[in-house]
């Protein structure tokens, strides 16, 4: 079978293996993933579940830091530890188990406690893309949190206890280029067409088209035509209110040509034009969120340390200042039309997006140079992506866990007015941390100590609340009792749920796609509910 035209690109085994995820974060997301180095502190069931969902999609490498030996109880909840590994260093056994999952991933381990590593190799944790810590006691968490906050390495702290889960993200600043919003309105610029688009659209006199041409004209052209008519009738202004938009819709609906059929049924393209009224006329100004990013100090005061994100932002800012709007996205929704009319329009959008991206790219390179940075840090592909997604840019600013723990007046009281709020569990988990620091064991760890531990934990929580100036007794006794009942038990299915969620948060941090949580996630498996708080 001779085939004159393009040969199929040979698909590598890697792209076949990762096919289902490449459709989500693309080859560029995968590349970042493959360059990443992840550190896991403590190979608990939760810890290995997180790493599992990172090793499978193909992170570059991981390192496990854990000074514990594998126990019988570990085997009962941790899938990556086997009966034969009891007594072995937990870091080593878990590393072996996880490496089996994906030959493309490298992994190593340090059979030392995190305290020891911190004390002996000061900057050890600074060399990772993300550090994940599970079951880490407060006294180690505090200095680690401070250290990583200072160096800008993201830290993810998680805990799984009984039916409860906790994930806390610490990151100073995180920039997202592709947020992948669920429903995005098309970016058509009909209210403010650039010259080439205007010239093209002005050429078509929709009302004088014959029946056949009429059924092939794209909805966009129809809408533009009646927008002009509307403007002529309304002193040059476009419909804003609902009734004004209804009027425009009516103009489109009642625009039957003299020879048209009178069945009252609109042709598909006219139906679409009517539907476009809502999404397409809203003036594409710059949203407050995006404006805030463009006006951010990091964008207006660039330094020789500025990242490519902020340099491109600065270049984008100049374009927005001169043109009054963000670059055109360059994509066109499908609409009933003949091929040529549609493709011509599409090419106009693509061309404009291309020109604007090139302008931003040239400017960004200049800026990088003027900052004394290598122009190579700006890639054309990155700028293109940036411009295409400029309406969804997102900058997350978190705060430091050590600051949260030392904050004497966290903003939690309003949540506690709702008796169902999962914020209660946050308070209890903070109490639990103190319990562990003070008694070196989990509350309820021993069968005969459950009741006494309930009292001890209540006292600790009471103290915390009074330190925070919260009215006591504000927490529910039942919940304290429930947490003591767990006695530090780690239920596999709860850890697996948190493991999946946390792994995806780490993937967000690595790929700069999708918005991560900010900053505390609580999961209650009893009620199958979850909540996110900013603390």
């Amino acid at each position: 079978m001779a085939s004159p035209s393009p040969k199929s690109p040979e698909q590598s085994d890697k792209s076949k293996k990762y096919d289902r995820q490449l459709r989500l974060w693309g080859d560029h997301g995968q590349k970042l993933l493959e360059k990443s180095k992840i550190c896991l502190i403590n190979a608990t069931a939760l810890g290995t579940e997180i790493l599992k969902s990172l090793v499978l999609p193909g992170i570059g490498a991981f390192t496990i830091v854990d000074g514990e030996k594998v126990t019988e109880e570990d085997i009962g909840s941790n899938f990556f530890l086997e009966e034969t590994s009891i007594g072995m260093p937990r870091a080593q056994a878990a590393t072996q188990g996880l490496l089996e999952l994906n030959p493309d991933v490298r992994g190593d381990y340090i059979d030392e406690s995190p305290e020891h590593v911190m004390a002996h190799t000061q900057d050890f944790f600074n060399n990772f893309t993300v550090v994940i810590a599970t079951a880490l006691p407060e006294k180690v968490l505090m200095p680690l949190s401070r250290q990583l906050w200072a160096t800008g390495v993201p830290l993810v702290v998680c805990r799984s206890i009984g039916f409860l889960g906790y994930v806390r993200l610490q990151i100073k600043e995180h920039c997202v280029v592709e947020a992948h919003p669920d429903n995005e309105a098309p970016d058509l610029r009909l209210d403010k067409p650039w010259p080439a688009l205007r010239t093209h659209l002005d050429k078509v006199d929709v009302s004088s088209l014959g029946t056949k041409e009429r059924s092939h004209v794209p909805a966009l052209t129809i809408l533009y035509y009646y927008m002009q008519k509307y403007k002529e009738m309304h002193g040059g202004s476009l419909p804003k209110t609902r009734s004004e938009k209804d009027e425009l819709r009516k103009m489109i609906r009642t625009s039957l040509p003299p020879d048209g059929d009178t069945s009252g049924a609109l042709e598909e393209n006219y139906e679409q034009a009517v539907r476009f009224v809502n999404v397409c006329i809203n003036s594409i100004g710059v949203s407050a969120q995006i404006q805030a990013i463009l006006d951010d100090e990091r964008c207006t005061n660039l330094t020789s340390e500025s990242s490519s994100f902020w340099i491109i932002c600065a270049a984008l800012r100049e374009l927005v200042q001169s043109e009054g709007s963000l670059p055109v996205r360059g994509s066109l929704p499908d609409m009933a039309a003949d091929t040529t009319s549609y493709v011509t329009l599409q090419q106009l959008y693509q061309r404009q997006a291309q020109l604007q991206a090139e302008a931003v790219y040239r400017r960004a390179v200049q800026i990088a140079r003027s900052l004394g940075q290598s122009p190579d840090i700006i890639s054309e592909a990155e700028v293109k992506l940036f411009c295409k997604h400029s309406s969804e840019l997102y900058v997350l600013r978190g705060n430091c866990i050590a600051d949260e723990y030392q904050n004497s007046s966290p903003n939690i009281a309003p949540y506690l007015e709702d008796p169902e709020s999962l914020m209660f569990y946050y308070v209890i988990l903070r109490g639990l941390e103190r319990f562990i620091s003070e008694y070196n064991t989990y509350p309820g760890q021993f069968d005969d100590q459950v009741e006494p531990d309930v009292l001890k934990l209540k006292t600790l929580i009471g103290k915390l609340l009074s330190e925070w100036g919260c009215p006591t007794p504000v927490t529910s006794d039942d919940r304290v009792h429930e947490v003591c009942r767990y006695g530090g038990a780690e239920l596999h299915s709860v850890s697996a749920m948190l493991g999946g969620c946390t792994a995806h948060e780490v993937i967000k941090l690595i790929t700069h796609q999708y918005k991560p949580i900010n900053n505390t996630f609580i999961y209650d498996a009893i009620t199958s509910t979850s909540a996110t708080f900013f603390l």
């Binding site: 035209s5 085994d13 096919d19 499978l56 493709v343 239920l491 299915s493 999946g500």
Partner: protein, 444 residues
């Protein structure tokens, strides 16, 4: 009570704490004791349907939540593109049965666990097989299969004088994912909303109009569909139907699609897109599967142990923007096709105009029915009559001419009952026709 040394092992200390201690949030029926874990380990039989992305996770989760009497059923074999998430499989396993490899892995890793694999379709088994289970968990990507097992569990319900015999109920937990979205739900057949009660959750797949594909293509997808639907049957390069897993087939479609796209000045045809369109690929990642399967496994544990009240009854999950979950109760549908026990009435506007093929289209396209290839029989004047069945070649040939006959021409009357058999249910659906047009002319 038999002696069970295993459940008292230190290894299961985590589970014992939540099962042997009283808790303020447990189910009203919960009485903490060591017997609960014994039941989970020795008696409670759980069937996992599907050994794919969710199934692998479910088996791991259940095995580590103490379940030992596990069965897994899956008709598929392992492919390279499974390995980014179906973590019980390795490169060397490609081509082997998913169910068998998954079962062997779990049995080796979790000592004492006895997963029994079934390398076949769920339709290959009948009620006697399904009756042995206490709980069924589904990790499926097919709506048809979900509906089929749902129908099976409903057909197994026992009603005595209109009262549901509680012991005939087998609860079903259903999970599903697509990219970073997913759901988990608990179905108590006959009591809470079933799969068919919520059929509007599964809108029929979007298809492109044929005239667009043939005459006015605009998107790369239109070009690919053209090659798939029009060019392939015409040129039939290998004399077979398209096999989405055959790279030669995909390459051919890719090349032809590129040609067509070039001809129309359309950009964006890629090999990946061709594969996606031809195979109708749904993106999938390890993390979402892990999350949804774990929520389902937790619900199995709750049902088996009564340690907490079950999810009531639907949870949606999405971690595109932060981590979002929402739990709500789906209502049972009063006239549900599968679980309502209410005879279905189908209003027919114009029986003189409606042809049998229109009726079949209605069964396939309406949100209420969403059938695949329904086979229709009826009873006319006490005699069984096959109206149309497409799945058996000889009957198809014999009944094909009925497709263009109107309902009246076929002898159907107001009140006639049509028996419908379809892949979406193991049960025959009886639909009573209600002719809205009273003045029915007799066929000439």
């Amino acid at each position: 009570m038999t002696e069970n040394p295993d459940s008292s092992q230190k290894r299961w200390g985590h589970l014992r704490k939540v099962l042997e201690r009283p808790g303020p949030f447990s189910h009203p029926d919960f009485e903490p004791s060591s017997e609960i874990l014994d039941f989970v380990m020795t008696t409670c039989k759980v069937l996992v349907i599907g050994a794919g992305g969710l199934g692998c996770e479910l088996l791991k989760d259940l095995a580590l939540m103490g379940f030992k009497q596990l069965h897994v059923i899956d008709m598929d074999t392992i492919e390279l593109s499974n390995l980014n998430r179906q973590f019980l499989f390795r490169h060397k396993d490609i081509g082997s049965s998913k169910a068998e490899v998954a079962a062997a892995f779990i049995n080796k890793r979790v000592k004492g666990c006895q997963v029994v694999p079934h390398f076949c379709k769920i339709q290959d088994y009948d009620e006697t097989f399904y009756r042995q289970f206490h709980i069924i968990v589904c990790g499926l990507d097919s709506i048809v299969a979900r509906r089929w097992i749902n129908g099976m569990l409903i057909s197994m319900l026992n009603y005595e004088d209109g009262t549901l015999d509680q012991t005939s109920i087998i609860p079903m937990i259903d999970g599903g994912t697509e990219g970073f979205k997913g759901h988990a739900r608990v179905i108590v057949p006959g009591i809470s909303a079933c799969i068919d009660c919520t059929l509007d959750l599964y809108p029929p797949q979007v298809t492109y109009p044929l005239c667009t594909i043939a005459n006015t293509p605009r998107l790369p997808e239109h070009c690919i569909e053209y090659v798939k639907i029009i060019q392939w049957p015409k040129e039939n390069p290998w004399g077979t139907v398209i096999d989405g897993d055959d790279s030669q087939h995909i390459s051919w479609i890719y090349e032809k699609s590129m040609e067509r796209a070039l001809q129309f000045n359309i950009t964006g045809v890629t090999y990946r897109l061709v594969q996606g369109v031809v195979k109708n690929i749904i993106p999938a990642v390890a993390s979402t599967n892990a999350t949804i399967a774990a929520i389902c496994a937790t619900e199995v544990f709750k049902l088996a142990t009564s340690c907490c009240v079950s999810l009531n009854n639907y949870l949606v999950f999405n971690d595109v923007d932060g981590i979002y979950s929402y739990t709500f109760e789906y209502e049972k549908k009063d006239d549900c096709l599968a679980c309502s026990q209410i005879p279905q009435t189908l209003p027919i506007k114009d029986p003189n105009k409606m042809k049998l093929k229109n009726l079949i289209e209605l069964f396939c396209e309406s949100t209420t029915y969403q059938m695949k290839n329904p086979g229709l029989t009826t009873n006319i004047d006490g005699k069984n009559k096959t109206l149309y069945i497409s799945t058996i070649k000889s009957i198809e040939e014999r009944t094909r001419e009925n497709l263009n006959k109107t309902l009246v021409e076929l002898g159907l009357k107001d009140g006639s009952e049509i028996m419908v058999v379809d892949l979406t249910s193991p049960n025959t659906l009886i639909v009573k026709l209600k002719f809205l047009n009273e003045d029915v002319e007799m066929s000439s």
